[in-house]
Assembly symmetry: C2
Amino acid sequence: MSESTQPARGTRDFLPDDIRRRQHVIAVIRDVYERYGFEPLETPAFENIETLLGKYGEEGNKLIFKILKRGEHEHTGAADLALRYDLTVPLARVVAQYQNALPRFFKRYQIQPVWRADRPARGRFREFYQCDLDAIGSTSAIVEAEILAAVSDILLRLGFDDFSIRVNHRLILSGLLNVAGIPAALHNDALVALDKLDKIGRDGVAREFAERGVSGDAVSKCLGFFEVPDGELPAATLDRLDAIVGHGDGSVENLRQIVALADGTSAAGRVRIDLSLARGLSYYTGAIMEITVAQLAGSLGGGGRYDNLVGMFLGREVPACGFSLGLERIIVVMTERQMFPPAVAGSAVDIMVTLWNENARADAVRLAADLRRGGLRVDVYPDADKLGKQFKYAGSRGVPFVAIVGDDERARGEVAVKDMRSGGQTAVPRADAAAFVRDRVRDGKATTERTEHTEPGTLEPRT
Amino acid sequence: MSESTQPARGTRDFLPDDIRRRQHVIAVIRDVYERYGFEPLETPAFENIETLLGKYGEEGNKLIFKILKRGEHEHTGAADLALRYDLTVPLARVVAQYQNALPRFFKRYQIQPVWRADRPARGRFREFYQCDLDAIGSTSAIVEAEILAAVSDILLRLGFDDFSIRVNHRLILSGLLNVAGIPAALHNDALVALDKLDKIGRDGVAREFAERGVSGDAVSKCLGFFEVPDGELPAATLDRLDAIVGHGDGSVENLRQIVALADGTSAAGRVRIDLSLARGLSYYTGAIMEITVAQLAGSLGGGGRYDNLVGMFLGREVPACGFSLGLERIIVVMTERQMFPPAVAGSAVDIMVTLWNENARADAVRLAADLRRGGLRVDVYPDADKLGKQFKYAGSRGVPFVAIVGDDERARGEVAVKDMRSGGQTAVPRADAAAFVRDRVRDGKATTERTEHTEPGTLEPRT
């Protein structure tokens, strides 16, 4: 009793309603990822510590949870294992380990928790899920376009109608910085500052640039480039860019292809070029992208092309492009906006079988078995008790129907089915009881299973 | 390159085919658990170390993975967190923490990995999944009967037809040991020895008893009780027990009720009383049960009633009964016996869109989007290349159909659909292409999604 019963700091217990929301979102993400030909991969929670250390920079190293050696080595305080910090380094390890078994174009998704010893804050946890998809092995612009399409499909199916996906290109950014006269050695610093334009504004960025010794002239030139006029179509922005940075490295043409290809998918009209988008991670080498939702600071996910990272365990370059959806943030926003279908938070049970008296137990269990065979989710009240108390319990749990089999019903081969919403009670032949309830829970309170999975053959939720 | 790319010792990477097998089994388990009114719960991978230490005995303590403190405390070598060792202690913590928010009868399932620093061996891993269901808050025999039924439903749906569920009762065991003249202080030792009857035989058990000072007479009396004659029906065994241990503690009557109630469910004919079943864990207080499959040593899962454990964080007794299915072992056996439906190991993709030339890219992406809207899982070959090479790639991945849109097809608004199994090619109007392929993949190679989830309203896989 004196012991704390809290989960560890920065972690959460997920009670049934939480899990149903999470499963709803994950089922949509998984289904869409699979429609795009991505295959599931899972890796262990912990890796050999050498696999992770040194892969995330000085700051990242500090945030890795390390596991103490065991047995006689425990007293040394040394660690030999560490918890997964992201899903990208494990992917790189897997690509190296199984290179001969994997297809030439390896498209994988991975939906698993990662752990970071960050200071917990609102919406920031020490255990959180990442939903990554990555396409390995091709430099084609089709890869980026399909990722944009997949992400759009997911957001549309979850009910987001006010999102856009901002795109930019690392090489275009370098080109613009060059033209603005910022020396290559300062590019990374400049990008870090630039990435905060949303938060700290033009003046803030100018100040950060100045602190790093970039001339005022370069700053305003640079910021001038980065501002895309409101309502300018991607094609116009790209034409402008052609004039500024030229065709040398093919980056403008690459972005043009990506935007054009995405136009034939559900991402049409959602993609907008934002030249100030930099994305913090220094490993991107090509297109970068990030989801923006109206009236929402921060992003629901982001990604880009990173041709040098996956091959790190192989010692050679392997083209790759990926995207990571932030499950925790998607759930927070959907909850705040009440975007979950009512059924997701609905009862876990379609019908509860009541128990008249101890002698009726065998019959109650048998009825429950019949109803389950009929596809229903069925609870049996475990102890004989006053019916009123059993109804109250069913009501408190939101159970829509209750089954009563008294002596009369049993004699007639019937079940009395009580609709807890209307209070009405109907005598139904026992053999028809499952169908009777099934028709009615489908009308109103559908089960989780029914809303999570769409009918094969249609992308739209069944009507 | 010099770095190891192996997963950490005792852990496994799950490549796409592995995941599909795991998802197939987990989907069945989850669906059945939910039909029985159990609700999903998830807890964090790590707990505060005090929550776990001292809960699993001396041996268990040694197998707990401990997480090093972070930051300035790291050098002390102290641990403040530990990886989940099972799903039962976290459940007990959750029941204490959220007691007011949980229903009076809390039925939860939890399917998550646990970690134990065991010496890895064939079939024994340091990271493995448990699939637990537990019903908290009732002492009714209905609870045990429903658990037996749920487990039977799962095994039947997975395709096991040669299983039985052995049941026994902790209080009957104590009663038999008493009658055999074994002092209460030696009961635990006796049960540990007894639990190995399968492995070490009568002589081995007798030897272990003797080592602990139990008289030869008590041993043979005891073993005599424990042997249930081949083919003896549960009712006969129970009558025999009535005569030996009497009615004092109600244990024989409790087991009789459980067996009778289970008889009205899919567990009918599967339940057999095995008086030698002891189950190692000392926390059981009532009925105990274990799945046995013909010609298979060991068990696919087990459980029982444990009325003193869940309340440990509350300081009061809370009735509880649970069962844990061993996912890893189920998968090993199903793989060895080739029990997975062909579709589970099938292609991740229904159709691959080929790419004639770079100019056809936009059209290929658009066609893929159309086919996905039609419910198919679609891959696009990312680079224009020789068609033969693209066919070969599709073949190597087991993709059943390939779409080709040459200039002629485009002019006629058609798609050429090539059946990779027969080699036949059919020109189909573009608008009908998705339905054309859908009909054909359903005939033969169904998608994972289609086999994993049954039609709402039927327990049987759709035909």
